[in-house]
Assembly symmetry: C2
Homo-oligomer: 112 residues x 2
């Protein structure tokens, strides 16, 4: 046998992703920051270049959660792994959800 290539990444069809899984994926500060970054960069980004403050192994964990919740798409490009937001698909499956989450200010100065 020749060398094993990198295992193919699994990306669930959004139709089979429960809403609760998406909500859970978006309930973590770090992952939310990743989604924010990706939304501002539609062409995608390499894993290691995200402005987050966790160890690489932890970051990898968060990418897995996001990927399995159907929020991001990842593919290998040489040594790096390219990450993109599945924005159009998400909006088809959960209309308005991503926009609403992204639009929310972290904390509102105006209490209501």
């Amino acid at each position: 046998m020749a060398h094993n290539p990198r295992p193919a990444l699994e990306h669930p069809q959004l139709g089979v992703v429960p809403v609760t899984a998406v909500m859970h994926a978006l309930s973590d500060e770090t992952r939310l920051a990743i989604v924010h970054t990706l939304l501002a960069e539609p062409t995608g980004r390499a894993c290691g270049t995200f402005p987050v403050d966790v160890a690489p192994s932890t970051l990898s964990h968060h990418f897995k959660v996001l990927r399995e919740a159907g929020l991001i798409h990842q593919e290998d490009r040489g040594t790096q792994r390219w990450t993109m937001l599945r924005a159009p698909e998400l909006d088809a499956r959960f209309p308005g959800l991503l926009a609403a989450v992204i639009a929310a200010p972290e904390l509102s100065t105006d209490p209501s």
Copy 2:
């Protein structure tokens, strides 16, 4: 001292509730079912009358999570506790979020 009345329930101002807290509150099947039920019943409902399949003590826990995330309002009415969705406030703080979450079908038959 006379008897203690029931302790006043705390309801955070939505301005100080982090988005992640709301997302977390909505990432549980049981809590999502509660929110669904409440949205269909704007006048509110007593705690024990929700069509969920958990023990009373567990249900109480979920109400606490929802309340502290600013999703519901509760007040005492005699022996029972009345629960209402803070829908207008939520929509002011996180426009479109509640609608998007509620609109999402549990599972889509059309994979996309």
